[in-house]
Every structure is written in structure tokens, then in C-alpha cells.
Symmetry: C2
């Protein structure tokens, strides 16, 4: 009855080991209106990760050339690797009416707060810091020193988001916090966040005003 | 793992004939964590309506006595009848951790904006004004004069909510607008709104802060 409005943008962040990737794969499978913003990274693919689906895996030179060209909305170094979100990764699908979910590290999300003011920001946390530690060790891909640094940093990130009283955290303000203690539940929570954003008043009014003869 | 926080409050309003009652019955059946705030009214029960479930049906004298006692958070006259929401109808279930949905007329919702600042306000609209007219006539319970008055008023209510640019509408500010063109879809929309409110950052932080050792 009405032209479909441009797609929404959801930024999902959270400490390393909070389970972002698994959550997003499940949400994408459940909602065909949502697509994944594919980030660039210089880190090596993990088992099962596919280039162009999970990340664009590039070498450091290619990554730094893209930075020079202004090709990233955000980029950050994390755990010795570079991660970035290209402008096209967001604009291209939203222009076609698809909602886009970005998975970014916490530093990157803070940068996106500036360039994506309309986006909905979701922070994913593990059920506890002990569980986070178990998950990081369970991967078996990082050495002890890396794991310790990540745990210290994760605790700090969670703390900053929790204490963000006035929405002025240096990590950017998150509208939602999802506890990933049960992945089915966390998937349902994120689908609710997406579904609710689609019926936010100003969005619905923009698409319905003309239909109701208020133009 | 944590004590359950007090329940949330959702105020669902919309023009007469937008389908509020059917929607809410379906949402309640789908989510056992949600309950219905039972309003008082002086209007006669419609076919199938049950006292204490759909409304508390009272006579005008009893209703006015309750007003005198300050027993209503909001009340309004609508279509020649009185409608009101008692304080207990909200506080009693939320104290037990249940989320409460209130179905109120548009005037009543504006009053509740004052007393229930934390509530989530949802405006339900029909797919068009023509459909609204058909629905009101289809009930067969109101005469022509009442139907015409309701249609004029409904258009005005929708217009005020649509044009609420800064959230300062005289009808109160609504966070969400749901178009009731397909009841299954509208039910899903409202369930998303409820589910998203449960993972709003400040709510989750309040229940998790101690668990993460930030107290």
C-alpha cells in the first residue's frame, strides 16, 4: 500500500566471546528482511568462516589503502588485527529496503554512533565473566596473554556500558543489552528489538501519512 | 540468577474500532508474562464480554464514588459512558513481576502519560479510515449519529498522533504505532514491542549490575 521505507540499521557489539557471530547467524536465518553487513578484517579466517559472508578477509596493505581512501565508516585495531565497516556495506542494502545488522567491536561501535545516529545499538554480554573466560579458552585459538588482556578489557567494556547513566559513555550509548545465557532466548530478544524498531512511531508515520491524507 | 524486577507497563490506545480488544486478547494468550489491566466502565457489556476479565462493569454512581476517592489513575467519558483505570489494576500485578497492558481510550492515555512516565505507549490504527468506518458499522451496536461522531474524532486522533513532531502532542507521546491491517502481524508487532522493552539497557543493567560485581 505504501513504498517501503529505507532499511533500518542495527549495531550489535559486545566483548570478545559474548557470542555475537552465532547470534547474528541465527537472527539472519529467522528474518529474511534482515541482512548482514560484512566487515573487512586482516585477521585470519577461523574454521568455517567464509570470505564475503563472515568477513572480507584482506591483508594489512589493502586495509590501510582503504582507510586512506576514506572507505570505512569505522575501523579499529583489536587483538593485533584490523577490523572495519565500509560505507557500501550499509548503504547498499538499506537503499533496497533491507534492514542491516552490523557486528562490530566495542571501539568501532563508538565511532558508528557519530556516523549512524539513527541506528539502534545493542550490547551483547555473556551471562558472567567466568563464562566469558571459559568461552575464550574454549576457542583454543589464542594464547594465555591474549586471553588475559581480553578478559580485562571485556570487564572494562561491560562496566562502561553499565554505568552509562546519561547515555554519554565513551563507548557510545546502547539502547539495549542482551544477556547471552541461552542462545535461543538471545535470538528472540534481538528479533524483538528489530521488530519493535520497525513500528517506531516516526517510521510508521513517515510511511502512512500520505495514505491517511495528512500530506 | 537475579531477583525479577517489577513488571513493565504498556499502554495501548487508538481510535474506537482500531481493534484494540482483539489484539490484546491474542497477545495475552501468546505471552504468559503479560497480564491485562482490567478497566472500569459504565457501558453495558457487549456479547461475550465478561465482568472482571474484559472490564469491571459498574453503574455510574459507583464509578463517580471511586473518582471522589481518588481511585482512578485516569478516567474519561467516551461515547456517553465512563471508563477508568484504577491504581490497583496496575500496581498489584507489576509488584508481582508481571508486565501489564492497559487498553485505554486516547483521552485516558494522555492522562496516563503523567502518572505512568515509565510506561511504553503504543497507538493502534486501522489500515485506513474507510476500514474503520466499515468496522464501526459492522458492530451494529451504535446508531448513525454515534458512528459519525466517532469517525470524525478518530480521524482527529490519528492526525494528532501523526503530527506529534516533538513528542508534545496534547494526546501524549506514543513511542510506537501499529497498523492493524492483519491481526497476526499486529499481534507479532506488539509482542516485539513488549520483548524489546524487557531488554532496554537500563532495565537489564538494574538486574545484572550486582551479578557482574559493579555494586
Amino acid at each position: 500500500m505504501n513504498a517501503s521505507p529505507p532499511g533500518l540499521v542495527f549495531v550489535v557489539s559486545g566483548p570478545s566471546g559474548s557470542g555475537k557471530s552465532t547470534l547474528l547467524r541465527r537472527v539472519l536465518a529467522a528474518d529474511s528482511q534482515v541482512c548482514f553487513s560484512v566487515s573487512h578484517t586482516t585477521r585470519a579466517p577461523r574454521a568455517g568462516e567464509v570470505d564475503g559472508r563472515d568477513y572480507w578477509f584482506v591483508d594489512e596493505q589493502a586495509f590501510r589503502e582503504r582507510i586512506e581512501r576514506g572507505g570505512f565508516l569505522e575501523w579499529a585495531e583489536y587483538g593485533g588485527h584490523l577490523y572495519g565497516t565500509s560505507r557500501e556495506a550499509i548503504c547498499e542494502p538499506t537503499a533496497r529496503g533491507l534492514d542491516v545488522i552490523l557486528e562490530v567491536e566495542v571501539q568501532g561501535a563508538a565511532q558508528l554512533r557519530q556516523s549512524l545516529a539513527e541506528a539502534v545499538f545493542v550490547f551483547l554480554i555473556p551471562p558472567s565473566l567466568d563464562v566469558l573466560e571459559q568461552r575464550l579458552r574454549g576457542r583454543g585459538t589464542e594464547d594465555e596473554d591474549v586471553i588475559c588482556k581480553r578478559l580485562v578489557r571485556s570487564r572494562e567494556e561491560i562496566h562502561l556500558v553499565f554505568e552509562d547513566g546519561d547515555g554519554d559513555s565513551p563507548l557510545g550509548s546502547y539502547e539495549y543489552v542482551i544477556v547471552n545465557d541461552d542462545v535461543d532466548r538471545a535470538v528472540a530478544d534481538l528479533l524483538h528489538v528489530v521488530g519493535a524498531a520497525r513500528v517506531a512511531r516516526q517510521r510508521v508515520v513517515a510511511s502512512q501519512r500520505q495514505h491517511f491524507g495528512f500530506d
